[in-house]
Symmetry: C2
Subunit: 248 residues, 2 copies
């Protein structure tokens, strides 16, 4: 099937998706374990000849996670001439060549790749490996295995991009459960930023954004100390997502 | 010459540069006027088979502006299937076909394009048209002529990107003269944001960034009311450019 599809794709351009999830206070990325190799890769795909780039990214992501509607955002196109490394391409094409020579030939050309990132609910995603991988798994961002090509650079660029985004866009949707405490939100920010934040200051600035609905208190033993639960106010969240949080 | 070069480029991928300048308090973009057409286009180029994408963008920009060292930043890759519009491609290829059939054939395929933006000193740039254009000019962003393909969308996306960037990155280098007043900096921000800003608040927030050197006063008639001149402190400017202006 993949051989036939080859000729329906535009040559030389691929897509790679950095799908992030947040589980037990750990930031995780969705990775595929290559067949016949100890290396892992990002889920990705190719673009059909009459398909929009964004549509191809959504399709690739849906194929690999089972998630149909997801906020997917393009962040960078990687176009270094030797981004895939000749010896690594040769070795991979040798493996793939045993499965299918046409595909191996097609893949051995130079590829630029456009990176997209998405936040996904780890509980809802159903990771599915592609034809050159044997399994798909959520892996903690602090415990990444060896990755093929420039995929480590792609992940790092995505994280750097998201860190900057935290300065002007809200975050949390899909990464947090529908109801969450400010402490949970703060933990998410701290995990992405890689540094501790002042609790009072964080709450003040967050609540000032006006993107939350305050709900009931979290049920704990000590009722008077129980923190409030919040949810995102969909419309307000989306407006801030569009306009940005100005510091001016 | 262009015919020979064709086979040295990777097919299906181009580069478009949104080069912005600021002159007489007007934001301007560098455009090329097409030959045999009333339409204008962004300066752009193609990628040599063994050339990095970023290097190709720098080369294209240098060829069109004479500027050798410039801060060029990738912001988006445009990959809609019909981004160039069939009838427009047909017409353009007809014109180019009269100059060179090989090039016309090569250009008639589907192209994805990666957008880069840069800020340039209008006084220093020496706009040079390419082989399919008859002149290169700085055009006020509020008075754009009709553009080919999706170039208007590319400019709008760049502006939207830069507006968001103002929320977390400093701006002004290359757009302002080496010595400037806070009023000049504010005018630049207001022009890009498309809205007025409070003077006192703006100055307070800007100075808090710690990226300026305060110089002598601007020479005016009324000495006691003369505003201070500032310049960017190179190292501090670059550090904030790298780390971002956090609101947290």
């Amino acid at each position: 099937m993949i051989q036939k599809e080859c000729k329906y794709w535009i040559p030389g351009h691929s897509i790679d998706c950095v799908v992030l999830g947040f589980e037990n206070n750990i930031l995780k990325v969705l990775l595929l374990k290559m067949r016949h190799s100890e290396k892992w890769s990002l889920p990705g795909g190719f673009i059909k000849k009459k398909e929009d780039l964004d549509a191809a990214a959504l399709r690739a992501l849906s194929d690999r996670t089972g998630l149909k509607s997801i906020y997917l955002s393009q962040f960078h196109t990687f176009g270094a001439y030797e981004r895939r490394g000749k010896s690594e391409v040769d070795r991979l094409m040798h493996e793939i060549g045993q499965l299918n020579k046409t595909v191996a030939q097609w893949l051995s050309n130079r590829f630029l790749t456009t990176g997209y990132f998405a936040f996904a609910d780890v509980q809802k995603a159903r990771p599915v490996p592609d034809f050159i991988s044997e399994k798909a798994e959520w892996v903690a961002i602090d415990e990444l295995p060896t990755l093929i090509f420039d995929h480590l650079e792609i992940i790092n660029k995505a994280l750097q991009h998201i860190k900057l985004k935290l300065n002007y866009l809200p975050i949390g949707d899909a990464l947090l459960p529908p109801k969450f405490t400010m402490a949970m939100l703060q933990k998410l920010y701290e995990t992405i930023l890689g540094r501790a934040l002042d609790r009072a200051n964080f709450q003040k600035k967050m609540l000032k954004l006006g993107i939350f609905d305050r709900l009931e208190k979290l049920k704990t033993g000590a009722a008077n100390k129980a923190p409030y639960l919040y949810s995102f106010h969909r419309k307000k969240y989306e407006r801030v997502l569009k306009e940005g949080i100005g510091y001016l």
